[in-house]
């Protein structure tokens, strides 16, 4: 009885007392290359949706499970720079052309054949602040302003010089890389923290996947991001905005490894219904399901693996073989699979099951590996180099199911170690063929879709979803990935206490994704850094980033 009372008392005390956020070692200051999506979002935000971005930059390298982590080591190759340069020239030309010009400039030169220092400076100051995520320095303004003036004199075209200057800004490292700048932590909670401008950038790319807007930059410059209350208020404001959707889409696009869709192909004879439209729609279906369940209905993240609710277009409905009121076109409509329908959860959606398959065949191994790596954050080693695979599979044996064929993996010691943690999971989805169409037989043999995940058995794909939803690694994986995505770096030993705290808070709030996102966005860990940028020297009383100093000293 006494023990029960003590337990109740401790529960009451815990409820009434918010556990403080454990400190972390902080991130090493870094410079992260913009992703293609971020680049496009910034251009749209700064210049408007009518300015098109022609082409795209080199992809980031998926690192430690996330493309976002590849940004901190990404380099720009010559051919990669050429793409940036080509895009920049095209954007700059569009911005200054006669149709768009009036909406881009707050001023107008008296004559396009005469220099106009003031107008050029105003344009580049306004635009540069958004592109560089801080006010450009006097030096940084001088080059594009002079380009405009020189062009007016030499070529008789002020705007042609503006375009050259803008193209220069759009290919500068200050724009292409989000660069951490640091200062001592005023609250003394850690030695160093990001500067206000760097905080604004981190917040904006996390929540909206774009550059900080004027309001957020104003807040940064007014010191509002230097207090916890200020950060909380701006996070709440940004999370209440419709623009949060772009940030959530960006994270799950990375989390779900959507870049693999870019190279997805299915054999047109084996899977005639699998069109280019189906590929596009299957990506969007996953995202719409995520947005609806996590953000709109604010459900438990784990329900993503069991939900019957989704959205369909006509082409997708044909793959799912379900009726639709709009059989053609790509208009979306909500759809709920009946309780008797074997489909449930995102693992049984086309966007997952077809992606983790061969062009003409399903693959329990690929699906098992994708589940382990993407949703459970577990690494599967590369296969050994000296295995003769043909002993596992005879394509001339049409009466064998995948389960029969994969039995061979368990008798080959070199394979068994890894395959026993992949195949039994993926076999749960065997009732979905390589295009994710439902089937009950393979080669006229009834498919046995039973399997197990970490010792927990299931009978079919829906059962796999239920087991996934109860696996502790499922929620821990999301919390870890989202934190790494926000910090832009892999987690380390110094983050252990923070992650335990975060996972506990995630559980306490019923695994609600928005709560997890808000907690990370408002956490000190997001802005804590382990050392000053550029390793400039010992802790001092002022901002030590050379970048920051330069800004402070040369404000126009």
């Amino acid at each position: 009885m006494r023990a029960v009372f003590a337990l109740l008392l401790s529960f009451v005390l815990l409820v009434g007392c918010e556990q403080p956020e454990p400190p972390t070692d902080g991130s090493t200051p870094a410079m992260r290359r913009l992703s293609n999506e971020q680049y496009r979002n910034v251009i749209t935000d700064v210049f408007g949706p009518h300015i098109t971005v022609a082409g795209q930059a080199d992809s980031l390298l998926r690192t430690e499970g996330l493309l976002a982590l590849g940004a901190q080591t990404a380099r720009i190759t010559p051919s990669g720079f050429e793409k940036f340069y080509s895009m920049a020239r095209s954007i700059a030309q569009q911005v200054v052309n006669e149709q768009n010009r009036s909406g881009q400039f707050q001023c107008e030169p008296a004559s396009i054949t005469e220099p106009d220092d003031s107008c050029a400076k105003q344009f580049f100051s306004d635009v540069g602040r958004l592109l560089y995520r801080r006010p450009p320095t006097t030096d940084e303004l001088a080059i594009p302003v002079t380009a405009a003036n020189d062009s007016a004199v030499s070529n008789g075209n002020f705007y042609a010089g503006i375009a050259l200057g803008l193209a220069g800004m759009l290919t500068s490292p200050q724009f292409l890389f989000v660069i951490d700048t640091t200062e001592p932590d005023a609250l003394g909670l850690s030695k160093w923290q990001l500067t206000s401008h760097a905080k604004a950038a981190r917040l904006s790319f996390l929540l909206w996947n774009t550059t900080p807007n004027k309001m957020l930059l104003d807040a940064a410059e007014a010191g509002e991001l230097d207090t916890q209350e200020g950060v909380d208020a701006h996070v709440d404001r940004m999370m209440a905005s419709h623009r949060l959707e772009a940030g959530v889409r960006a994270f799950f696009t990375d989390f779900f490894r959507f870049e693999e869709f870019d190279t997805l192909e299915k054999d047109s004879i084996i899977y005639p219904a699998f069109s280019a439209q189906v590929i596009d729609d299957s990506k969007e279906q996953l995202l719409l399901t995520v947005l609806d369940l996590l953000m709109e209905r604010k459900e438990d993240y784990r329900n993503l693996f069991t939900t019957k609710k989704t959205f369909l277009t006509g082409p997708l409905a044909r793959v799912y073989r379900v009726p639709t009121s709009r059989p053609t076109g790509n208009a979306w409509e909500p759809y709920e699979f009946s309780q008797s329908d074997p489909r449930a959860g995102v693992l049984m959606q086309v966007g997952f099951a077809a992606l983790a398959s061969h062009p003409g065949r399903s693959s329990p191994t690929l699906r098992g590996m994708a589940i382990r790596e993407a949703f459970l954050c577990q690494h599967i080693p590369s296969p050994p180099g000296d295995v003769d695979f043909s002993q596992f599979e005879d394509p001339e044996s049409p009466d064998a199911t995948a389960k029969d064929r994969l039995e061979a993996h368990s008798i080959e010691p070199a394979c068994a170690g890894c395959h026993k943690i992949m195949d039994p999971i993926g076999l749960g989805l065997e009732q979905l063929d390589g295009s994710a169409q439902f089937r009950t037989t393979e080669n006229e043999t009834v498919i046995d879709a039973s399997g197990e995940l970490d010792g927990i058995p299931f009978e079919d794909g829906a059962g796999l979803g239920r087991v996934m939803s109860q696996n502790p690694a499922t929620t821990a994986c999301l919390a870890n990935r989202l934190t790494e995505y926000a910090l832009g770096r892999p987690l380390g030993a110094g983050d252990r206490n923070y992650m335990e705290y975060l996972e506990q808070k995630f559980a306490d709030t019923g695994y609600r994704f928005p709560d997890l996102l808000r907690r990370i966005a408002t956490s000190r860990a997001l802005y804590a850094v382990s050392e000053p940028a550029n390793n400039a020297g010992p802790l001092q009383g002022a901002a030590t980033s050379a970048t920051t100093l330069a800004i402070a000293e040369s404000q126009p």
Binding site: P29, M31, S59, L61, G70, T73, A74, R75, I76, T77, P78, S79, G80, F81, E82, D139, E140, I143, T146, A147, D150, S151, S154, N155, A160, G161, L164, A167, G168, T171, S172, P173, T263, E265, K266, D267, S268, I269, I270, A276, I279, H358, P359, G360, R361, S382, P383, G385, D386, D388, F389, S390, E393, D394, P395, E396, N534, S545, A546, A550
Partner: protein, 457 residues
């Protein structure tokens, strides 16, 4: 004083002085880019035709005993068997290398990765995805690639941009162009200067553009100097990239020498949306490769680049036949060996197509007349796969071809037998022929300083 005036201004001052003149046709002071990288020789009228370097890649190697007949020792004559019979007409224009080893020094064989990385960089990776040294094409490009608008051009008919086998390191791996339309636009787009055009009118905006770019670069250098060492290191290539654009702009101001071999091709038509979802069906891969081969050959003939990389199929051979469940790669593992034929017939079919595609490429290069010979005569093509026998992932005796005469610097028609020597001897020899000043190449057991003198002139 204008900040756009450089601190070492003579050439740019000349340019700026002409800005008001509109259409001009002038002889400009010699630019660095018209000199070799040592600044010791001119690439001007009357000098020998340039020797170019290309790589060609196919995935999954050869079928043992069905591709090229083994030889006990090096010598003239290559016996092309069924799988490579398409190459027979080019026997006297290439060399074949077999029997060279890929010692791992205790490191793992990362399947379909270690082979090409070791062969092209001289260092086998310690972990999956790791590339620690530049690929040989970039070492060649550093030597000869600064005299053209593009230092290198990379394309792939396999439809996978990231599966390109040219890299400085893990994080700096160029993406290949996978669309023929994009490849055409890059080479022959708005910035292309036709050497055979009757009139030459440099755009005065180019002069200003170049000046602005230079001014930005100087500012960026000051900015980057404030960053930490690791980030500064990451930005090295960024500045190289800007200088390359500067070079290109400078070349656009210079009237190129007339060039009979340069015939601007017609722009390829955009593929249908249906075809875009089937780019890795073998007929489409072959068709894309043919178009890319022609564009690449003409890019070289027009001296838009002197270093060029073309991938036919990727290292995981994600290509397939219509109606077939498995890709080429999966067939090499899953398909049973036909007891009568002695090989995997479906995988063999793909291997044959790879040899045919290489023959097509060589035919395309040799169909362009250049000087007294052909474009191929003035090229050195390094063609290799990542494995010898894909079914078993073997990486010893990876098949390598060196094709072309390299401007008369390479003997051809030989089958060179490695006898277990490191495979880097082939790449090292190619680089020696191309004039790359390397005393040795590679690390650990792959390090070599011994070129294959039998093929060197």
């Amino acid at each position: 004083m204008s900040i756009l005036l450089p601190r070492k201004p003579p050439r740019r001052q000349v340019l700026r002085g002409l800005l008001g003149g509109g259409v001009v046709s002038v002889g400009l002071p010699l630019l660095d880019c018209f000199l070799n990288d040592n600044g010791t020789a001119l690439a001007a009228t009357g000098s020998p035709l340039p020797v170019r370097f290309g790589t060609w890649y196919w995935g999954m190697g050869h079928t043992p005993y069905n591709a090229v007949a083994p030889k006990a020792q090096s010598g003239h004559g290559i016996v092309f068997l069924e799988e490579t019979k398409a190459l027979k007409p080019f026997e006297d224009q290439l060399n074949f290398f077999s029997g060279f080893g890929m010692p791992l020094d205790g490191r793992s064989n990362y399947t379909h990765f270690t082979g090409w990385v070791g062969n092209r960089t001289g260092t086998v990776p310690q972990k999956q995805g790791e590339i620690v040294s530049p690929t040989l094409d970039l070492l060649v490009a550093d030597e000869i690639g600064n005299r053209t608008p593009f230092k290198t051009i990379d394309a792939s008919s396999a439809g996978l941009a990231q599966e390109n086998y040219s890299a400085r390191n893990t994080e700096s791996r160029a993406e290949a162009i996978i669309s023929p339309v994009e490849l055409y636009t890059r080479i022959f787009g708005a910035d292309f200067v036709d050497p055979n055009a009757n009139e030459f009118s440099p755009d005065p905006n180019i002069m200003l553009e170049k000046s602005v770019l230079s001014a930005f670069m100087e500012a960026h250098q000051r900015f980057i100097s404030t960053l930490g060492a690791a980030d500064r290191d990451r930005m090295d290539e960024y500045f190289t990239s800007i200088r390359q654009i500067e070079n290109r702009l400078a070349l656009q101001l210079q009237k190129p020498e007339p060039n009979e071999a340069c015939l601007v091709p017609t722009k390829p038509s955009a593929p249908s949306s249906k075809k875009l979802t089937r780019v890795r069906e073998m007929p489409n891969v072959i068709e894309t490769h043919e178009v890319m081969a022609q564009l690449m050959a003409m890019a070289v003939a027009c001296n838009q680049t002197h270093v060029f990389n073309l991938v036919f199929t990727d290292n995981f051979a994600n290509v397939r036949r219509v109606g077939e469940s498995y890709t080429h790669h999966l067939l090499t593992h899953m398909e049973l060996i036909d007891s009568e034929l002695g090989y995997q017939p479906l995988a063999f079919w793909f291997n044959e197509r790879c040899s045919e595609a290489f023959a097509t490429y060589l035919e395309t290069l040799s169909s362009i007349r250049e000087g007294d010979g052909t474009l191929l005569d003035n090229c050195l093509i390094f063609a290799a796969s990542e494995t010898n026998y894909a079914k078993l992932h073997t990486i010893d005796s990876i098949p390598v071809y060196l094709a072309g005469k390299a401007g008369g610097r390479m003997k051809t028609g030989m089958h060179i037998v490695g006898g277990g020597d490191p495979i880097t001897r082939v790449g090292y020899t190619a680089m020696q022929i191309m004039g790359v000043p390397l005393r040795r190449w590679g690390t650990k057991s792959l390090q070599t300083s011994r070129p294959i003198t039998e093929i060197m002139i």
